[in-house]
């Protein structure tokens, strides 16, 4: 069975600074997707970034980038130039491939507070 672990329950960062959220996972699968989702307070969860395991290049989306270390089974999220609107709970998630159902396996989440 696959597991996803986020070891940082809470983090804070000053506005405009950079922060890195950690995620490790355990799987015997060779091919899979990894995701970071953002869940703002009282708002819907949205996809921030995704990474396909067979792609060596790290994914980037504007201020968000990942550091994917397949051998170490590590998938960290870096947020550059943090903004107040980045305050949210962040979830790392895993999907094995091929997937018959699109089932996502989530970590426990990291609450990020961006301070002015």
């Amino acid at each position: 069975a696959q597991t996803v672990t986020q070891s940082q329950p809470e983090m804070s960062v000053q506005e405009a600074e950079t922060v890195t959220l950690s995620c490790t996972y355990d799987t015997s699968e060779n091919n899979y997707y990894l995701f970071w989702y953002k869940q703002p307070p009282s708002r819907q969860m949205i996809l921030v970034i995704r990474q396909e395991a067979y792609k060596q290049q790290n994914a980037t989306e504007n201020r968000f980038s990942v550091n994917f270390q397949k051998a170490a089974k590590s998938f960290s999220l870096k947020i550059s130039d943090s903004q107040l609107g980045d305050t949210a709970m962040y979830f790392c998630a895993f999907m094995k491939l091929p997937s018959n159902t699109g089932k996502l396996i989530f970590g426990q989440g990291t609450t990020l507070q961006v301070k002015p």
Partner: protein, 115 residues
């Protein structure tokens, strides 16, 4: 267009009552998912529909949980004889095609409290 909507947003039930939670996916989305999110935890998969077919219900915690999507659009998650451990936020998500790796769009959730 409109996103995924869920109703009610909040539900309080007495232990032993039956509840029904509704999900309206994004129009035209083929795939629909239900997840359960306990307080302070990540969501856990419950079940998956492709159109009206329930292709995976491996995450349903007991036979008190039942989901349906009879016409391939709106879905209902029903919990019979609710218990305190059922208290959680129930999230619905939909994705465009039958390709399971399509981006999942989440609704705001229904917060169920069982007293």
């Amino acid at each position: 267009g409109a996103g995924v909507s869920q109703s009610p947003r909040y539900k309080v039930a007495k232990r032993g009552q039956d509840v029904a939670l509704r999900c309206d996916p994004i129009s035209g989305h083929v795939s629909l998912f239900w997840y359960q999110q306990a307080l302070g935890q990540g969501p856990e998969f419950l079940t998956y529909f492709q159109n009206e077919a329930q292709l995976d219900k491996s995450g349903l915690p007991s036979d008190r949980f039942f989901a349906e999507r009879p016409e391939g659009s709106v879905s209902t998650l029903k919990i019979q004889r609710t218990q305190q451990e059922d208290s959680a936020v129930y999230l619905c998500a939909s994705s465009l095609g039958g390709i399971r790796t399509d981006t999942q769009y989440f609704g705001p959730g229904t917060r169920l409290t069982v007293l």
